[in-house]
């Protein structure tokens, strides 16, 4: 059934959108990520204008994260204090990001920055995740002991002022690194239409040295706050949230997320990470490809000057 989207002003198949929402929701529940990095490129390929895709996807990510964060919170796997600090940074980042995106669009460079961000961040993180997890899977197969994790906490994390206790993460660190991390992820969420879980999760593990158990839940909690805010800002500043598009996506999304969360217990963590790394890497390369291919037409319409 084709449906005309009131803000995107294109006609799309409603069934396909619900199905896509469900598939991405499943992946999101399985890996404990928002899934925006998968959905935004798909929406762009379907012909949804980039501004609308990025803004509406923030809304969809908020929904599927809300759907899975509740089960993490029941298992006491959310560090609300750390999530709050990250989200405070995320709020500032989202404010900045929406303005940056507006400016980039006026300069006609939004496409370039979106493609480059995907190529760099997804390529880098996907590649690292894949190498690291394939390595540990192989070591396990050979019966070798897992690589020793460098547990020495970096000095700079402790030398900074404004130290705060994070009991659930068993940390006593400065709030500056999490706030900066939050700002960075907030900017990305506004520009790339992602929640930023694929950056937050590794950053929380390797930079903040949070215990693995609370990382995913906390990241989801911060993503809800950042994407909700980004979504309101995009609607308020750019009038670019398509409520029909977002609703269709989240219909499938919230259900898929529940099934994904259930399925995740059937896989081993390393295998899941390897699979996620592969998906992230492929998306990054796919989005970056356009920068290297000679365009069919040397000219491109860059949206009406709204």
């Amino acid at each position: 059934m084709d449906i005309y989207l009131p803000i995107a002003e294109v006609s799309v198949n409603a069934g396909i959108l619900v199905l896509l929402g469900a598939v991405v929701g499943f992946i999101s529940g399985l890996f404990g990520i928002g899934g925006g990095f998968l959905m935004t490129p798909i929406l762009l390929w379907m012909g949804i204008p980039p501004v609308v895709a990025v803004a509406s996807e923030a809304n969809h990510v908020a929904a599927s994260s809300a759907s899975s964060v509740i089960s993490y919170s029941r298992k006491r796997q959310v560090d609300f204090r750390m999530g709050g600090v990250l989200a405070a940074g995320g709020a500032v980042g989202a404010l900045l990001g929406v303005e940056v995106f507006r400016w980039l669009r006026l300069m006609g460079q939004a496409d370039l920055v979106v493609s480059l961000s995907y190529l760099i961040f997804l390529g880098l993180i996907g590649g690292l995740m894949l190498v690291e997890s394939v390595g540990s899977v192989l070591r396990q197969r050979r019966g070798q002991p897992p690589a020793k994790r460098r547990d020495r906490r970096p000095v700079w994390l402790y030398g900074l002022p404004f130290k705060v206790r994070f009991p659930r993460s068993r940390l006593y660190i400065s709030v500056i690194p999490p706030v900066i991390l939050g700002v960075f992820v907030g900017i990305l969420s506004a520009i790339m239409g992602v929640g930023g879980g694929f950056i937050l999760v590794p950053a929380m593990v390797y930079i903040l040295r949070m215990p693995a158990g609370v990382v995913v839940g906390t990241s989801l909690f911060q993503i809800i706050i950042t994407t909700s805010l980004a979504s309101i800002l995009q609607a308020g500043r750019n009038q670019s949230v398509d409520i029909v598009l977002a609703t269709l996506l989240l219909l499938g999304g919230v259900l898929g997320a529940q099934f994904g969360a259930r399925a995740s217990s059937r896989f081993r963590a390393e295998e899941l990470r390897a699979l996620l790394g592969l998906i992230v890497l492929i998306m990054g390369l796919q989005m970056g490809l356009v920068l290297f291919i000679t365009p069919e037409d040397p000219f491109i319409l860059v949206g009406s000057g709204k």
Partner: protein
Amino acid sequence: MVTPALPPPAIVAPEPGPTVSAALTDANVRVTSAFSGAQIVLYGAVFDPETRPSDVVVIVRGPDQPIRIARKVRVAGLWVNSRPVVFEGAPGFYMAASSRPLTEIASFSTLRRLGAGIDHLPMNAPEEERIETRYGVRDVVVSRLGGDYLEWRRAVIRLKEKASLYATDHEGVRFVDRGLFRAEIDLPTSAPIGEYQTEIILFQDGEPVSRRARTITVEKAGLERWLFLFANEQPWLYGIVSVLIALTSGWLASVVFRRR
């Protein structure tokens, strides 16, 4: 914003000269959630006591929309967009249908005067222009695009044609019977909202002898209209509502699944 792009229709001469008359099957296109483009049929008749050879040209011009176009350039091995050029005065939709190729119907200057045909659209890029004195002549308008101007203009038309927003059809006006003609206007899904000025011009011996104007209105209707107005008139409330929907449905799903 709709600017009257075409001159008002000529008053039909009272003496029995050749005249043209036309009607649309649908002057009001409602964009609802089921909208997937529209086809409007224009019927018309030529009244001419002397039955001289007649040509009919139908011009449909949608609301003006500034066009931002960029050129892909290669920088350090990467294809990136140049600074965009903004063209003003270009309609968001344009169709020129005629019973014969326009160049056979009338002279270049006549077509230019009437603004008939894609080549005669008054498009310009004011931000690229500056006024200077050249060869002692003051107030000369110079475009920074220089000789590339035509290439940019052609690119705008090519890309718009690809999106089915601009069309030229040399056989679009067909005479179905003596003096009776029809033309089809295809609006794609991406057709802009607003008033479309439709002009029907009767040519004889290369001169426009009679003109008629009709207006097509494309407007969002029903839920589409309501949501569009909500998003544009109360954007912050709209944003909050959409986030509430998202969070509530996420929460509902997790509650429903917990019970099972």
